[in-house]
């Protein structure tokens, strides 16, 4: 097979000092025949010179003389290998405490992370810290490799205990795909081939898992964002805007807005060296020319007219501090976001996170390797989305203007909104910088309603199989919110089907229309400042995604109530599964009709593994964080 057609997976590896990370990578490279003989000879020479009996594969990864001298990894190293199925880029990051900044660096572009845990030591503070950083950086897939199984007699109990401890920790994190694999990197068990020593393990081997992670679903194909990098003007007849599509898709003829000017035009063509494209999408590099002579320069952003990012001069972000010189609120920094540099300052340190306990602490400054939440002010508006939704438009770096060093990595959470800050839409300047459809069209602006209500309006969309517990959880949540003086409304699939949607059946087209109507109704209530709880099986991803698009970013939450169909069948609260199985009803989800689980739900509640009380506690805290605006994706 021609190698250009393979897919690509970038992953990062991390672990504590002696967890065997280098051995594991060495093993992967060795077994995929990616270590060259002359490279092997060179490290063999070094090993011999140092008087070691065996060839130490770590020397292969420690590219700097200082690292080989000290026997530690100082900096991120990149390694490459491939299998017939995939190309892999490894960002190998040091696991030492003092090198947290390297881990953030290595992890920033990763699709997947591998955390190594030494089976003999169990889950250490370090392993938790690594999980926390992976969660902060929103790496969608995590593999926990429990290594050195050979030294614990390949014990299933040791493995299960570690899984249990880590699972209870990772519930507090925002990572939805975690796979645990027992391995011995030294002996090769479950790295590439199935281990004959652990017949009790029936999951994938490490390489199999790496080869089969589905990454294309992790991209944001919805929100078109095109930061202009370079203006190309070869002659008078051509003026094009060159850049790399940060997210979304675009086709010629579509109406676009240029930020910050707000000028509108239409896409005339998508030019490349290999010919004009009928459609372009993330992560392609293209040249866009527009139908009108509008002023566009580097640092501007081209977006779709009906899908705007936030356009603000203030933002709220998680910062990872990476410099020896501490954060100063008195100084300004250069902030690089997409293709632009702007002056910025930290106006408030909300808290620092103790990465070992996940507790939040007040702080006056951040030191090297500190992580925490801040509010920032920029000299010019930025065009951004929350990092959770869009990594490319939600991330930034801070540069010290004196040293020009990169001093921090930032992930934007949202626009800082203290309730008292809500401004009326008649505020002309605000209207200009935030041309959001919803704020403009309403008689009473949403912000005013929210101010009066004392909480933000959001939409919680509960999806899952019949019998998974959607209604039970949503009803209990609504009762609790109501008790907390929140304005709520519960839209239930069954209720709507009795009235508004009584003309619809269960064929895919009917289901689609049912969800469309539900979404529009939810929107009406949302615009009135309510917390809208919607419980719909809503089996099709596309239908749910189209509802999401009705709402501003950060206001719609897809909550996946996960429960295996066999368990739902066992519960069968209304006897519907029984009817479906006997053929009394047709088109029943999970029996005769498919259910597409969400690719990127905002929250997963597993009612099979978690008690109702735990689910409630979790969802209540999660929601409180958004409506009263104080949440992290991790709980205290």
């Amino acid at each position: 097979m021609y190698s250009g057609e393979k897919s690509l997976l970038r992953f990062t590896t991390t672990g504590s000092v002696d967890d065997g990370k280098s051995t594991l990578i060495g093993r992967l490279l060795y077994e995929t025949k990616s270590i060259y003989e002359d490279q092997y000879e060179a490290i063999k020479k070094t090993s011999e010179r140092k008087g070691f009996m065996d060839v130490d594969l770590a020397y292969l990864l420690d590219g700097l003389a200082a690292e080989r001298e000290q026997g530690i990894t100082i900096d991120v190293a990149y390694r490459y290998f491939e299998t017939p199925k995939r190309k892999f880029i490894i960002a190998d990051t040091p696991g030492h405490v003092q090198y947290t900044r390297n881990m953030v660096t290595g992890a920033s572009k990763a699709d997947c992370a591998i955390i190594l845990i030494d089976a003999r030591n169990g889950v250490l503070t370090q392993s938790k810290r690594h999980g926390f950083i992976i969660s902060l950086l929103q790496i969608p897939h995590l593999i926990v490799a429990v290594n050195k199984m050979d030294l614990v007699d390949y014990s299933q109990k040791v493995f299960n205990d570690i899984v249990e401890v880590y699972e209870s920790y990772s519930e507090k994190l925002d990572i939805h795909d975690i796979v645990y694999i027992p391995v011995s990197a030294l002996k090769g068990d479950n790295v590439v081939g199935k281990s004959p020593n652990m017949s009790w393990y029936d999951g994938p081997t490490l390489l199999y898992r790496l080869e089969n992670i589905h990454v294309s679903a992790d991209r944001n194909l919805v929100d078109f964002r095109f930061p202009v990098s370079y203006v190309i003007r070869p002659h008078l007849d051509f003026r094009g805007f060159a850049g790399k599509i940060a997210s979304g898709t675009i086709t010629p003829g579509e109406e676009v807005v240029i930020l910050p000017s707000g000028k509108t035009s239409a896409v005339k063509s998508l030019t490349t060296y290999d010919g004009d494209l009928p459609q372009a999408f993330v992560p392609q590099s293209v040249v866009i020319s527009l139908a009108d002579e509008v002023d566009v320069s580097r640092g501007d952003m081209i977006v779709r007219k009906k899908n705007l990012p936030h356009i603000e001069k203030s933002l709220e972000a998680i910062l990872c501090w990476m410099d020896d010189k501490p954060l100063s609120q008195a100084d300004f920094y250069i902030l690089k976001h997409t293709t632009r540099y702007v002056k910025a300052s930290v106006t408030r340190i909300v808290y620092k996170i103790d990465v070992d306990t996940l507790h939040r602490r007040p702080a006056d400054t951040f030191l090297l390797n500190d992580i925490g939440r801040v509010e920032m002010q920029t000299a010019q508006p930025l065009f951004f989305d929350p990092y959770k939704i869009n990594h490319a438009t939600g991330s930034f770096i801070l540069i010290d203007p004196l040293s020009n060093r990169t001093v921090a990595a930032g992930m934007i959470r949202d626009v800082p909104r203290h309730i008292e800050d809500y401004r009326d839409d008649s505020d002309a300047e605000h209207a200009k910088t935030s041309p959001h459809v919803i704020r403009r069209d309403l008689n009473i602006p949403l912000a005013l309603r929210e101010k009066q209500n004392g909480h933000r309006a959001i939409v919680l969309w509960f999806t899952g199989l019949s019998g998974s517990g959607k209604s039970t959880i949503a009803m209990e949540l609504e009762r609790r919110l109501f008790a907390a003086n929140c304005h709520t409304i519960l839209l239930d699939g069954d209720h709507l089907r009795h009235g508004l949607c009584s003309d619809l059946g269960f064929a895919p087209a009917d289901r689609k229309e049912n969800i469309r109507r539900a979404g529009e109704v939810a929107k009406l209530f949302f615009e009135q400042g309510n917390i809208v709880l919607c419980t719909f099986i809503s089996p099709f991803r596309r239908d749910r995604d189209s509802v999401r698009q009705l709402f501003p970013e950060g206001r719609f939450f897809e909550i996946y109530i996960r429960c295996d169909v066999t368990e739902c069948l066992r519960r069968d609260p209304h006897g519907l599964y029984k009817k479906a199985l006997t053929g009394t009803i047709s088109d029943f989800t999970a029996i005769q009709s498919p259910y597409e689980a969400p690719d990127r739900p905002d929250l997963i509640l597993d009612t099979e593994k978690t008690s109702l009380d735990q689910c409630m506690e979790f969802v209540e805290q999660y929601v409180a964080g958004f409506i009263f605006h104080d949440a992290e994706g991790v709980q205290d």
Binding site: Y36, G63, R101, A242, Q284, S285
Partner: protein, 300 residues
């Protein structure tokens, strides 16, 4: 209508294009270091794509030691004429005139004068504040630690222990007085990617990448071609069917035994290779950290 996916090579290409555009936009006076080899050919093609339908807005610069293969000089002239690029050739004439040669001065010193020295002088002479290089992380272990945008101090030196963190695709392009930037758009490409791309894009390459019978002498297990100024007379020369896997100066570039006479055969050979592509580079073999040492001084 489609699955919105692009191949691995197109992903790499798109990333490299974005890097070139960022650098061209941010630096006052960038230059592309052109070594005539396969990686340079690929880098030039990516540059053509990045600024299409315009021309790439920087010149090419070849640091010439005078010891390159005749086929490389011929190719260089024809290639640059063909694509209409502005080519600057810089040589350290002072040291070339003094007969600087690896056999006479030692490999490391020769490199230091004819390549690193010449490069740093040329950057200063033309006032270039950024230089694109075709180096790839996969090539060599100290290059594996390299940033895409890699800072050089006022004397052109690299400080590997004190590099700026590089996150997402947000490149810090800012320079202090006297500092320069090396930019490596092909950082994440492997040798195999380079060849696959050359095939996909039908990119012209120097013909000595292909195998034919050549007169060589064997020195420390490396096949060094017999050419004027290259092999010492008393060594035993023999004819071997061979090709050059990477190109450098004649005295320090070994051939590998190979029957590969087409791109497909080369791709097959690279895939099956048990040795790294720089196995034939005498300059890498003087010590375990030869490349790191050279890079610290300001090498490519």
């Amino acid at each position: 209508m489609n699955s919105f996916t692009v191949s691995y090579l197109r992903q790499l290409e798109s990333e490299s294009i974005a890097i070139l555009r960022e650098a061209a936009a941010e630096f006052r006076n960038p230059v592309m270091l052109y070594s005539v080899g396969k990686d340079s050919s690929v880098m030039v093609r990516v540059a053509q794509k990045a600024f299409y339908p315009g021309k790439f807005p920087f010149p090419l610069m070849h640091i010439d030691t005078g010891y390159k293969f005749p086929a490389m000089y011929e190719f260089r002239e024809a290639f640059c004429r063909e694509i209409g690029a502005r080519l600057i050739v810089e040589r350290n004439e002072r040291w070339i005139a003094q007969g600087c040669h690896p056999l006479k001065m030692g490999v490391d010193k020769c490199c230091s004068y004819l390549k690193t020295g010449a490069l740093l002088e040329a950057l200063t002479k033309h006032g270039f504040d950024a230089a694109f290089g075709g180096a790839r992380r996969e090539e060599e272990k100290s290059r594996a630690k390299e940033r895409v945008f890699s800072l050089r101090d006022a004397s052109g030196q690299w400080d590997p222990k004190n590099q700026r963190p590089e996150l997402w695709e947000l490149y810090n392009t800012r320079l202090n007085e006297g500092e320069t930037m090396r930019v490596f758009p092909l950082s994440n490409w492997t040798e195999q990617d380079i060849w696959s791309y050359i095939k996909l894009e039908q990119i012209p390459i120097v013909p000595i990448y292909y195998a034919r019978e050549r007169l060589v002498v064997e020195r420390n297990g490396i096949l060094i071609p017999v050419m004027p100024g290259a092999a010492a007379e008393k060594e035993q020369a023999r004819t071997v069917l061979c090709r050059f896997r990477s190109l450098g100066c004649i005295p320090c570039t070994g051939a590998i035994p190979s029957p590969a006479v087409s791109i497909d055969q080369i791709i097959g050979e690279v895939r099956a290779a048990r040795k790294s592509e720089r196995e034939n580079r005498v300059i890498d073999l003087t010590s375990d950290s030869s490349m790191e040492q050279k890079k610290k001084e300001g090498y490519f």
